[in-house]
């Protein structure tokens, strides 16, 4: 195996869970998330030699992923129905609570515009700095800040999410 391929394999092994989690938050579906990660990796691989010389190759892969997802989400056939069958209120038992959290988060994220969702997920979940998010999305840091503020404002309006946050705060 070539060094390039070896390095790529190591990267995939080390980072695929993190990438898949981000992809799930973007797509809300594990099958789509897996597809998204694979597509992003397939697009990154041919230029891995270059990418790996960067300070942080993951930023590049994430950028490809976010862009690919943005491209997908503009297509009709990927039309997402975020708030389909969200359970009403809180059901008893841990399992159900877990599902409720999952559904609530998914539906709340689904209410965001694509860019807001990307900024929010990268900033809060992946813990990227504002500058890094700007780099991933190819926009100014100011844009990241304002988009983030709008995303958070929107999420605050989501009643189910507010309830969950309230409960956690207590």
């Amino acid at each position: 195996m070539n060094a390039e391929v070896e390095g790529f394999a190591q990267f995939v092994e080390a980072r695929q869970n993190a990438l898949q989690r981000t992809a799930w938050l973007l797509t809300g579906d594990w099958a789509l998330a897996e597809d998204l990660v694979q597509t992003a990796l397939a697009r990154s691989w041919p230029r891995w030699e270059r990418i790996r010389r960067r300070d942080d190759p993951e930023i590049y892969v994430r950028r490809v992923m976010v862009n690919t997802w943005a491209h997908w989400s503009r297509r009709r056939w990927r039309g997402e129905q975020p708030s389909g069958r969200v359970p009403d209120g809180q059901a008893p038992g841990d399992m159900a609570a877990e599902v409720a959290v999952r559904m609530a988060v998914r539906s709340a994220l689904g209410s965001l515009a694509a860019r807001q969702r990307a900024v929010f997920v990268l900033r809060v979940f992946d813990d990227l700095s504002e500058a890094q998010v700007a780099q991933v999305l190819g926009c100014a840091v100011g844009t990241v800040k304002s988009t983030m503020a709008r995303a958070v404002a929107r999420l605050r309006e989501d009643p189910r999410l507010a309830e969950l946050l309230d409960r956690e705060a207590r």
Partner: protein, 435 residues
């Protein structure tokens, strides 16, 4: 992170859970190949060969002979490689791109032009173990007609870089298929390959001394640089230069007495001078992590090394072999490529943030960055022999930008590839200019 964010983070964590499946590299590789084949089938209609023939490994990709057609003198041209398997000639006089020359469809990795400028040798370096028969080839392009000749098979899997001796008689291609790496000599008169010269697996950059007597090739896996005597095509004793994780480049002083090898293993970059007379390595010159490209002034007094981490270029005094004060050229997205004008007055440094910084060599000061665009940063840089134009590839925009050295202004971008979605764009891995 404020309280609200932290709560949100915890919620997201709780919502996500574990991915049900793992992604395999093999699956990714299959996708890469499928994409390329689909693209090839979609665009390959104009080429007088079917995709099926290529898949079957019949390498008759080109249409005309490689060398015999080189009757008329070639016009001054920049050859830009598109990773997707084409080479685009750009006429220097008009800055217009000619018809792409198809050399394959997987990955072009390197290009070199013979000193008589009759032939450009292009390495189509990446096969795969998937559906396509793995094969790495070198394709000669006749510069007079810009047609590809018969591919020369050099390996099973990966190949590149390539270097040509000053007399133009031999091209050396680094091949790193499977468990062992080798350098393959190609006799340019007949376009036939000689016996592979074993150099250890994961061989890196290659460079030939100005007198043409020795080719130096770096071996990543061993952390050595191996001298190859071009007269006999035999490998000499390996010269230990570092831990052997990554090599940025090899450059020679014009007198050929010293080779400078950039080595950046394990976070500590250094430039190692090698005495080409005795083939011994000198004391490493520390230049910081992420050291990249290297270029030496025509008078041989200074070597410039890019350091991507802090975004600086470090001048090295070749007499004392000491590093001078770093020249700041960019932000964190630092320099990746360096080229020096033939008159030795200016160095042009390509940055990963999509700019080119001119550095005045007399004073070691950086000028205003010239914006060429592109998130993936600046690709290869080539300067015309008259020093009037610097050609810079923008990686993800699929363009080559001419910069007039008189004014340091960027001209109209020349389109050589596509630039739709970022992840979808062509990369322009290599570029060569007719001497």
């Amino acid at each position: 992170m404020n309280g609200m964010d932290r709560q949100m983070r915890e919620l997201l964590d709780a919502a996500v859970g574990e991915p049900p499946h793992q992604v395999s590299v093999e699956a990714v590789r299959r996708r890469v190949i499928r994409r390329r084949v689909m693209e090839y089938v979609a665009t390959g209609a104009a080429v007088a060969v079917t995709a099926a023939a290529v898949l079957a490994g019949i390498g008759a990709l080109g249409r005309g002979p490689g060398r015999s057609a080189a009757a008329s003198t070639a016009v001054p041209t920049v050859y830009v490689c598109n990773v997707k398997g084409t080479v685009i000639p750009i006429r220097i006089a008009t800055n217009t791109a000619g018809k792409p020359i198809r050399v394959g469809f997987l990955a072009v990795t390197a290009i070199a032009i013979t000193p008589d400028e009759k032939t450009a040798y292009v390495v189509e370096g990446s096969g795969s173990s998937g559906t396509v028969p793995p094969i790495a080839t070198v394709i000669p392009i006749a510069t007079a007609t810009n047609t590809a000749g018969k591919p020369i098979k050099v390996g099973r899997f990966f190949a590149g870089p390539i270097a040509i001796t000053p007399d133009g008689k031999t091209a050396y291609v680094v091949e790193s298929s499977g468990s062992s790496g080798a350098v393959i000599p190609i006799a340019t008169a007949t376009n036939t390959v000689g016996k592979p010269i074993k150099v250890g697996r994961l061989a890196g950059p290659i460079a030939i001394t100005p007198d043409g007597k020795t080719a130096y090739v770096a071996s990543w896996s061993l952390g050595t640089v191996i001298p190859i005597a071009t007269a006999t095509n035999t490998a000499g004793k390996p010269i230990k230069v570092g831990a052997g994780l990554e090599f940025g480049g090899i450059a020679f002083t014009p007198d050929g007495k010293t080779a400078y090898v950039v080595e950046s293993s394990g976070g500590s970059g250094a430039v190692i001078p090698i005495d080409t007379g005795t083939n011994t390595a000198g004391k490493p010159i520390k230049v910081g992590a992420s050291a990249g490209g290297i270029a030496i002034t025509p008078d041989g007094k200074t070597a410039y090394v890019g350091n991507q981490g802090p975004g600086t270029v470090i001048p090295i005094d070749t007499v004392t072999n000491t590093a001078g004060k770093p020249i700041r050229v960019g932000t964190s997205a630092g320099p990746s490529e360096i080229a020096i004008t033939p008159d030795g007055k200016m160095a042009y440094v390509g940055n990963l943030n999509g700019t080119v910084t001119p550095v005045t060599i007399a004073t070691n000061t950086a000028g205003k960055p010239i914006k060429v665009g592109g998130f993936l940063g600046v690709g290869p840089i080539a300067i015309t022999p008259d020093g009037k134009t610097v050609y810079v590839a923008s990686r993800n925009l699929g363009t080559v930008i001419p910069i007039a050295t008189a004014t340091n202004t960027a001209g109209k971008p020349i389109k050589v590839g596509s630039s739709s979605v970022v992840g979808d764009t062509d990369t322009l891995p290599c570029m060569a200019i007719t001497p």
